[in-house]
Symmetry: C2
DNA sequence: GTTAGCACTCCAATATATCGAGTGCTAACA
DNA sequence: TGTTAGCACTCGATATATTGGAGTGCTAAC
């Protein structure tokens, strides 16, 4: 893991050169490229070490070296720590003008693809990863309960539950406690069947109420499952700019994946952070095999989440060759992320009304 | 143009063989393949003639022949006239089960792509090509007019127009006449700015009313312009099954076009029939250069229109190499067309409600 | 009009030669 | 001990023959 500063410098040089050229990098090149005045022979020795450590590899004897996934990872992590470049201003005007949310998103993803020369993807914002804030059951009369559910971002849902038999104020309080202790702070995705049956058991005779409360919660994410999550992509044709991706087999697989957009949903999960380390900006990088999607083994994928004012989240991402310009891509994502937050947060939000409906007809807490 | 039956047979043999193999066809192959017992030498002579006539071409001396666009055209026309194969039953169950219109269409296009091994496209049904049936202005009182517009397929729209000044029964009759004579029978796409200003001029002081009537008509096609016509595609990756399409350049262009779906709108115009002859089933074939889309010069495109019960029309199409299995493709399209008509026409229409709204809240004529 | 036969063409596949970038290793050097 | 010059060696990439065979066009005979 530990690399002395010289190895680190050589490693960086190798990667940077390779990012530019896409061809194996030889010792002589490095010898000239870097400012540490070392002969190619010395570099060779170091490279030999780096290879042994698994950071670089030779496609064949008597060829230069190319970075391994591990090597890229080193570089990317290094990059994240070192530099936080200025975020170049983005022409948000172009975006703000359009009226419909959908159109905005389509434009954004197109912009990303054009700016980076890679393939871009974007998931429409949804509530799925928001958390339950609190639940309030109020007894209206012995046979009716008012159920209010508040979700992160102050999305409010209410609903009257009709009962088959009378219920006491006490019982309502008990249920309130149960539901709040068990559900509060959970993201909508966290509430699984196991948990549900668990709660129902505890609720005993009042499991019907639990059901209705859960239904109400479910309404927020109604139809927002992985399968039909709205995902837009753009710049699929950019893969043809990179020979390592444009051979028939790879290209075909990639195109399929981009078409079956739901396969991309695996990248759109802001919660679990097993692979693809998340930096402070919420930017993740998946290098080669780190990707959860089979067809992207020869790609790198960089994603970031954006947030709308009312707590909805979405993801933007870039798919490109492993030798992508990580810095540029990350900066682009950060910019877009910031711009999206701005555009939607600022009063000129161009289309959120559709999504707002739900909270409007209840009056917010 | 005129080919004796022997040449015709040889031509067919050449194409059929080429469709299967994708490789230039030699005289010996034909000599053996056909039942007309002719030596390869004779075939050679005939082929020489066919080449001179522009139906086939040699990629290079000492190679077999491949069909030209003209040759394909001959074959396709021939095909249309000769055979009308049985339409194989399609599993409409799979389709009917889904609920949302959009989902149905997505499934259909996927099905098409899978069945044919080519790329499939489908435009969602819209009213754009329907015609204005009649317009009825009724004077409710001196300051109000009831405007009723009926579109092909009995789509009814009504609307009350408030006036700034009084209007007489006479004037209303006049306007009625004007609007009906000028607009009836026109498709919604035909009503252009020139025509409009023309009518307004004739209407003189009442041009405001014309405006409102036109607005009502426009509502039917609101947001259904070429640019945001809903188009679905599937099986883009199938192009990689055909070497002549999967070289980087071609593939890239094709993928771009499929992504910018609005470019496909050119195929979705049921009206104008300049190129791509339409057969009695509404099936059109665009071979190579006949295609209105630049990036498809190396492809053939076969389209068909389908109709929903209430007069909405959409288009389905297949994009593949020139040496596609035209027969299979056309049959597939016909089947799908028939199935769509059935599914939507039959009571079990799975989702048209969204689209019906418009006529529902008026009561149909 | 049809066919056998033959010389000719030219792509495609295979083998062969050449080049050079890059390596690993060794020995010398500071 | 770390660095470097030097050298033999490897091996892909590129260019250059070599060959085979599918297919043609033409001619002469049937």
């Amino acid at each position: 893991m530990e690399l002395d500063s010289r190895k680190q410098k050589i490693m960086d040089a190798i990667i940077q050169t390779y990012l530019k050229t896409g061809e194996p990098v030889g010792s002589r090149t490095i010898s000239k490229y870097t400012d540490l005045n070392l002969s190619s022979a010395t570099i060779r020795n170091e490279m030999s070490d780096l290879e042994e450590m698994g950071y670089i590899i030779q496609p064949h004897t008597s060829a230069g070296r190319i970075p391994t996934d591990k090597g890229y990872r080193l570089y990317v992590d290094h990059l994240v720590n070192e530099k936080t470049q200025q975020v170049t201003a983005m022409n948000s005007l172009m975006i703000a003008k359009t009226t419909r949310m959908e159109e905005v998103l389509k434009q954004v993803v197109k912009l990303l693809a054009n700016n980076t020369n890679y393939t871009a993807m974007l998931s429409a914002p949804n509530y799925k990863h928001n958390k339950v804030k609190f639940i309030q059951l109020s007894r209206l009369n012995p046979r009716q309960i008012l159920n209010v559910v508040v979700i992160d971002g102050n999305i409010v849902k209410n609903h009257i539950i009709d009962l088959n038999e009378d219920i006491t104020e006490q019982q309502v309080l008990k249920l309130n406690l149960l539901l709040n202790t068990r559900l509060n702070g959970l993201s909508l995705a966290d509430i699984n069947l196991g948990l549900i049956s668990n709660i129902k058991e505890e609720a005993g005779v009042h499991s019907q109420i639990v059901n209705e409360v859960l239904d109400t919660i479910a309404e927020v994410i109604r139809a927002e499952t992985d399968e039909n999550m709205e995902i837009y992509t753009s710049g699929a044709n950019n893969i043809f700019k990179y020979p390592e991706l444009s051979n028939s087999e790879n290209a075909s697989k990639l195109i399929s994946t981009l078409e079956e957009k739901n396969l991309l949903a695996d990248f759109m999960q802001p919660e679990d952070d097993d692979k693809g380390k998340k930096d402070d900006n919420g930017v993740r990088v998946y290098i080669g095999d780190e990707s959860p999607v089979e067809s992207m083994k020869d790609c790198s994928v960089v994603t970031a989440t954006y947030e709308l004012g009312d707590g909805m989240q979405g993801t933007i991402g870039i798919i490109g060759p492993k030798r992508m310009d990580y810095e540029k891509v990350m900066n682009n994502l950060k910019t877009v992320k910031a711009t999206l937050n701005q555009v939607f947060d600022g009063g000129t939000s161009p289309g959120i009304p559709e999504k707002h409906e739900e909270s409007e007809d209840n009056g917010t807490s």
